[in-house]
Every structure is written in C-alpha cells, then in structure tokens.
C-alpha cells in the first residue's frame, strides 16, 4: 500500500469535482502518500544516523544549534565565527529558495546542509559529547524545518 505511485492522483484534478466520494477517496490517497513520503524521509535518516546517543535536552532548530556552539568550549573563537557565518549563509540560501530563487535545487541545498552539519559534528565530536549528541539527534528534524516552506517562513521571515 505504501509503495503505490502517488503521482497519479495529481493529474486528474477535474475528477475531484465529479463526486464527493471520489474527492474523499483522493484525499485519503494523498494523506497516505504524504505518510509514505514522511516514512521514507525518516528511513533515510535512520539508515545513516541510527545510533545517536540519547540526550537530555533536544535541539530543534539551527538557532539552538548556533547558541549551543556559542557556549561550547570545544570550538575556538574564530571557528565559532566561521560556523555562525556558514549557518547564516545557508539560511540565506534557503530564504532565497523558498522565495522562488532557482540558484540551487532542494537536493543541492540538502547536500549543503548535510556538509555543514558534518563540519560542525567534526568540530564537536570527542570534545563536547552533549552537543554532539544533540546535533546527531536533531539532524533530521532541522532538515524537516528547513525544507518545509511554511515552517521555514514562519520561523525566519
């Protein structure tokens, strides 16, 4: 059921006017497809980072990560500034993307995000276990916020 092709429901939109039952069926299929997409996204996250350490307090967005970096003793002052600047630049690229710019695709932005997370993780690992664990756990949820236009604009506009 979850593997069913979801794109077919996007084409015959005129059918939605045909009958309420048909519209309800289409809505149900869309809901299931949305669930399947979310499940696929979570599986991708789980396949790579499936053994993140348990943490007391979770990070939910890039601002919290930046704040954690600011207070961490694991990263030198200049590197903190570089990472903060890199985070701001990435947020700027996402802002442009969600406003319709086509300089980078969503897949490219995801790669840029993951490389930045790798860079931060590399700085923290073995030095700030708590923040590194928080970053590991938040990897997928921060991405979910960045890629979702509504959630992103609510947070950053």
């Amino acid at each position: 059921m979850l593997d069913m092709p979801c794109h077919f429901v996007m084409r015959p939109l005129f059918l939605l006017r045909a009958t309420p039952a048909l519209a309800a069926a289409a809505a149900l299929i869309l809901a299931l497809c949305g669930g399947a997409a979310r499940a696929a996204g979570e599986d991708t996250h789980a396949a790579v980072l499936h053994a993140c350490p348990k943490v007391q307090q979770e990070i939910v967005d890039l601002d919290m990560l930046a704040e954690g970096l600011k207070n961490s003793g694991a990263v030198g002052m200049f590197e903190k500034l570089r990472l903060k600047s890199a985070i701001d630049e990435l947020i700027g690229r996402f802002k442009a993307f969600h406003r319709g710019a086509t300089q980078y695709t969503l897949a490219e932005l995801q790669e840029q995000y993951e490389l930045l997370m790798m860079r931060i993780a590399h700085q923290l690992q073995d030095k700030d276990l708590a923040l590194h664990g928080q970053l590991c756990n938040a990897w997928g949820s921060i991405w979910a916020t960045l890629q979702d236009r509504g959630r992103f604009m609510e947070k950053f506009s």
């Binding site: 790579v48 053994a51 490219e108 790669e111 490389l115 590399h122």
Partner: protein
C-alpha cells in the same frame, strides 16, 4: 603659474580606489561543496590544499581528492561521528 593642490590631483585616484567592488555572483553548488569539504578536512589534513575532485558514493559519504594528491574518504558513522580515512579504492 599657480599649481593645482595635490589633493585635487590625488582625488580621482582615491575615488577610483574607493569604488564599491562589483557584486560577486553566488558560488555554484560544486564550489560550496568543495569549500565545505576543504574546511572539514583542514584539521586532519592541513597540508592537503584545495579540494580538486570529489564524488559522493552515498548519503554522508564522500571520496575527496585534494590538490596535494591525497585522497580520502569522509563519511558519517551511525552515531554521528565524522570519520576521515585514507581512501583505499584508488
């Protein structure tokens, strides 16, 4: 004959030097990836230089060739550790 003050002669030169630099085009995606990989590798391979080539063999798994000729694999383990190792497959 009265000479022009030095400041008047120097003014055009000073103004030319103070012009705003032309707006830079945003970096390409490949440039951003190279830059991020370079900065990630800087602590492990400070003498590696710029990233000459890179390829991605999976999510969070890169083969990186530096200007120095060093080739390494950069990947993320299941617990979120970034692991940099010499690339064995070349």
């Amino acid at each position: 004959m009265r000479r022009a003050p030095l400041a008047l002669i120097a003014l055009p030169w000073l103004l030319a030097g103070c012009q705003m630099p032309p707006a830079l085009a945003p970096p390409s995606h490949a440039e951003i990836v190279r830059s991020e990989l370079r900065q990630l590798l800087a602590s492990d391979h400070p003498s590696g230089g710029a990233v000459r080539l890179y390829s991605r063999s999976g999510r969070l798994d890169y083969r990186v060739e530096c200007a120095s000729g060093q080739v390494c694999r950069v990947r993320v383990s299941a617990d979120g550790h970034v692991i940099v190792t010499p690339y064995a497959g070349h």
